[in-house]
């Protein structure tokens, strides 16, 4: 039988991601750097939650704030510009 026993699958979890800002202290969070911030929003411009991005709480707060500041300056969108359908 090629069917895998269920137990085994359950035990295999995705490794917890580590906060990339903690790992690399040179990596800055800056509202002016929309290219870096863009990694933390979805295609629809929504901020990616911490449980997915893997950011620690402190850095997630800073990322969130920076994204909001960038939005204010129209460097990033509040809502996506979707192609006309």
């Amino acid at each position: 039988m090629p069917v895998m026993p269920r137990r085994k699958r359950k035990q295999f979890y995705v490794r917890r991601k580590v906060c990339r800002f903690c790992v690399d202290s040179k990596l800055a969070i800056d509202y002016k750097d929309s290219n870096t911030l863009r990694q933390f929003v979805t295609e629809r411009g929504k901020i990616i939650p911490r449980r997915i991005s893997g950011n620690c709480a402190r850095h997630q707060r800073r990322v969130t704030r920076a994204i909001k500041q960038a939005r204010l300056l129209a460097l990033m969108p509040y809502i996506p510009q979707l192609p006309p359908t």
């Binding site: 800055a28 969070i29 800056d30 509202y31 002016k32 800073r62 704030r65 920076a66 909001k68 500041q69 939005r71 204010l72 300056l73 129209a74 460097l75 990033m76 969108p77 509040y78 809502i79 510009q81």
Partner: protein
């Protein structure tokens, strides 16, 4: 004095001279309101992520300066009056400035601006390394009370939103 940086977004549909005169005007306001302009970083015209005041284009300028809360207050009063400014954002970079270090930085900036030939890749790394004092609390700790004298705003955005008005 404190160290600030402000991003000015000038309406990108305006002709270059208009943009230039707006930038000059606000640079002068900094000096006339007890501020000290360290440098301007011109980002040029960019596409706005959304429409503001009927335009999709903005001319971005980053102003780096030292000043007092009154300087910022006077600037912000003028942003609101001036139609050419579409958005602005002010962040306090440090609470204290070392005037000597600042003068040295201004001189260094002026020098860097002169010799055109090699200055090509310079603009980005230039401003950061110089001042020990200014570096202390800099980027990650974008501090509240951007001196807009409105403590209740401290909650999340320490900046002051532009007088939006995007009908």
């Amino acid at each position: 004095m404190r160290r600030y940086e402000s991003v000015w977004v000038v309406n990108g549909d305006l002709p270059d001279e208009e943009v230039k005169s707006a930038i000059d005007k606000f640079s002068r306001i900094i000096s006339s309101a007890d501020g000290l302009l360290v440098g301007l970083d011109d980002w040029g015209r960019r596409k706005l992520a959304y429409k503001i005041k009927g335009t999709h284009r903005g001319y971005y300028v980053l102003a780096d300066y030292a000043g007092t809360p009154a300087t910022v207050k006077e600037l912000e009063r003028n942003y609101r009056i001036d139609d050419r400014i579409v958005r602005y954002h002010t962040v306090k970079k440090s609470d204290q400035v070392d005037l000597e270090a600042l003068q040295a930085e201004i001189a260094a900036r002026a020098q860097a601006a002169q010799p055109e030939p090699e200055a090509a890749p310079a603009p980005a790394p230039e401003p950061e390394p110089a001042p020990a004092a200014a570096e202390a609390a800099s980027t990650p700790e974008v501090t509240p009370e951007a001196a807009a004298a409105s403590p209740e705003e401290a909650a999340a955005p320490e900046q002051t939103p532009a007088p939006a008005k995007e009908e």
